[in-house]
């Protein structure tokens, strides 16, 4: 990838600040860091406590014994099939990420690189969809999906979200900057445009694909409104809908609710820790370019 993003880790050459100034700076970021981590601490504390410890008279910073049994209790709980919802979210996030990358990257490439007479008109039609936020169109989308009989199905959950004008637009912008010489060399060697794309362009764009995949996976896993609308039956719930149901249950079960929250965040914390580089790069590239 032609790197346009400056490395965020490289500190700017700074003048030598006073010792007091530096101490104040590190004190400020440390206080802010503690506040930012506090909610994560609360999840872990509550997930591994018993309900009497959470709701007790005196605040307890840590449970007397870590209640690892809460995990098996959660998965054996009859009221909400949490395991099922984890599986649904996994299927949804993985298929959505794969589908969006396949469909939107090829479309972005076509719009960026193939000199077709009406390409501009098509591009403006795609741009026009960016004006209408997907969240506002959930009513019409639901009307369509329910007429197709796709309520409570993976199809209904995944397919309407695959055609993201914004992702297509980002891929187009990326491919506009992709060096032409590489493809031309491949074409001279007798590859069709289609195989040149898959054998030359894509392998040389893996950084950008990784960034897009990370962002898409996170937004798929965390999405709530559409899964809520589509998942009428508990068997079709995703993790987020299941979590939401814990909050509205008649009897609140604190330790299970927080164990469920902890497990729902865990995959993203892993994605986050291992793929942070792609994520930061993706945000810096896609967020601001103008």
């Amino acid at each position: 990838m032609t790197t346009t993003t400056p490395p965020l880790d490289k500190p700017r050459r700074v003048r030598r600040g006073s010792v007091i100034g530096n101490a104040g700076l590190y004190l400020a970021v440390s206080v802010a860091a503690v506040l930012f981590l506090l909610p994560f601490y609360l999840i872990v504390r509550n997930a591994l406590s018993t309900d009497p410890e959470i709701t007790g008279e005196n605040w307890k910073w840590f449970p007397t014994h870590f209640q690892w049994g809460n995990i098996s209790e959660l998965f054996n709980d009859e009221t909400v099939d949490f395991g099922r919802s984890l599986w649904n979210s996994t299927v949804m996030a993985v298929l959505m990420t794969t589908g969006i990358l396949l469909i939107c990257s090829t479309a972005g490439y076509g719009l960026a690189r193939i000199p077709y007479r009406h390409a501009n008109k098509v591009f403006y039609a795609v741009l026009a969809t960016l004006m209408v936020p997907t969240a506002v169109t959930f009513v019409p989308s639901f009307v369509l999906v329910s007429s197709l009989g796709w309520v409570d199905t993976y199809r209904g959950l995944i397919i309407p979200g695959l055609f993201s004008g914004f992702t297509c637009f980002l891929f187009r912008q990326y491919f506009l900057g992709f060096p032409k010489e590489l493809e031309e060399a491949a074409r001279v060697d007798g590859l069709s445009q289609w195989s040149a794309y898959w054998r030359v362009v894509v392998p040389n764009s893996l950084n950008f694909f990784a960034a897009m995949a990370t962002i898409t996976f996170i937004s798929g896993w965390n999405s709530f409104l559409w899964p809520l609308v589509i998942g009428q039956d508990p068997s079709a719930w995703t993790v987020q809908v299941a979590l939401s149901s814990y909050m509205t249950n008649q009897t609140v079960n604190y330790h299970l609710t927080f164990m469920a929250t902890a497990i729902s965040i865990l995959p993203l914390v892993f994605v986050f820790l291992f793929l942070q580089r792609w994520l930061v790069q993706g945000i810096a590239q896609t967020g601001i370019k103008g």
């Binding site: 965020l8 500190p11 700017r12 700074v14 600040g17 590190y26 970021v29 930012f36 981590l37 909610p39 509550n46 469909i103 090829t106 479309a107 490439y109 076509g110 193939i114 077709y116 007479r117 390409a119 501009n120 098509v122 591009f123 960016l130 004006m131 209408v132 936020p133 997907t134 969240a135 506002v136 169109t137 959930f138 009513v139 639901f142 009307v143 369509l144 309407p160 055609f163 004008g165 914004f166 992702t167 980002l170 912008q173 289609w194 962002i215 996170i218 937004s219 965390n222 709530f224 409104l225 809520l228 987020q240 927080f258 929250t261 729902s264 965040i265 942070q276 810096a284 967020g287 601001i288």
Partner: protein, 322 residues
């Protein structure tokens, strides 16, 4: 962070269509290739974006309760119903108040964090990661933590526990709209979730400010600190700031997840536009006509915001200059 929150910031360059006419055979193969690459996407876009929008506009002129194939044409009655409906107009007020809180606070906090992190020389990556980590959290999970652990109205919530150490009585943060403490809950949860994301944007922009500017300023006798921030850093961040503010505004417009889970649709206060649409179209009445009319109105409003954004940021300047 959904992709919709970052929409509309990159300025599009006009598609490159070569002026010279290619040979006939090549042109035919270009046409074929174009549809090969873009066909699946465009067919999907047609079915799952354009058809629902068209259908919705059509439905908005019909009495469409419990049906999506209505026959009773009612003209603009659904629009009149939505615009005179206090739930719907109230939700626009909720959005305005929410935006007035969340946009400036997120802007200031994320810029502040970026300025701090940018000055760090040790453990810079560590602190950046800590502030960015909440981005991995979903709105639902964060709403759950805020509602059940931090701002729980009973004694054992963290906020009430801390207040209790100072001898202050329990506060019913969410269940009581007067005084409206629920705004504190709603604003802090989104602040926590979003600040790190926008900090990354500011951090990238800060790195792009040429160091020569600061060197020149110090030669001219500007004191580092407030003076350089006010006259160099802030003006250099103008483009990023504008973009961030508009992204925040559009995200606030679409707020649903944390309101739905913290305040719930059963409450009479704090209902956002999307919650009202949700209740209208998918609630007990299943009024798709009014729900569609509401969606059309909200879409028009957001188009106005986006076009206004275009005016400020020069969105599509490439097209206009042709």
């Amino acid at each position: 962070m959904s992709t919709t929150t970052t929409r509309g910031t990159a300025s599009p360059a006009p598609a490159k269509v070569s002026g010279t006419r290619p040979r006939r055979g090549l042109r035919a193969s270009n046409t074929l290739n174009f549809w090969l690459f873009t066909g699946p996407f465009l067919i999907g876009l047609l079915i799952f974006v354009f058809v629902p929008i068209g259908w919705s506009i059509w439905l908005s002129f019909f009495d469409a309760r419990f049906t999506v194939t209505p026959s009773n044409f009612v003209g603009f009655a659904n629009y009149r119903h939505m615009l005179t409906n206090s739930d719907f107009t109230g939700s626009l007020v909720t959005f305005t108040v929410f935006a007035a809180f969340i946009v400036p606070t997120t802007w200031a906090l994320s810029l502040g964090l970026a300025l701090l992190v940018n000055r760090l020389r040790f453990m810079r990556a560590f602190f950046r990661s800590v502030f960015f980590l909440p981005t991995a959290c979903s709105y639902v999970a964060a709403a759950l933590i805020w509602k059940m652990a931090v701002f729980n109205g009973v004694r054992f919530g963290l906020a009430n526990t801390v207040l209790g150490w100072f001898g202050i009585d329990n506060v019913a943060w969410i269940s009581n709209p007067s005084p409206p403490w629920y705004w504190l809950v709603i604003v802090t949860v989104r602040l926590w979730l979003q600040a790190g994301f926008y900090m990354i944007l500011f951090l990238a922009a800060l790195q792009n400010i040429p160091t020569e500017l600061y060197e020149a300023a110090s030669i001219d006798g500007a004191k580092s600190g407030w003076q350089t921030f006010r006259y160099i850093t802030l003006p250099q961040l103008r483009a990023t700031s504008t973009a961030v503010i508009l992204l925040l505004l559009i995200a606030a417009y679409q707020a649903f997840d944390e309101f739905y889970n913290i305040i719930t649709t059963r409450a009479t206060w704090g209902q956002t536009p999307l919650m009202v649409l949700y209740k209208t179209a998918l609630g007990a009445n299943q009024d798709y006509g009014s729900g569609s009319a509401g969606a059309v109105i909200l879409t028009l409003l957001i188009c106005v915001i986006t076009l206004f954004q275009g005016k400020i940021m020069g969105f599509g300047r490439g097209e206009e200059s042709k």
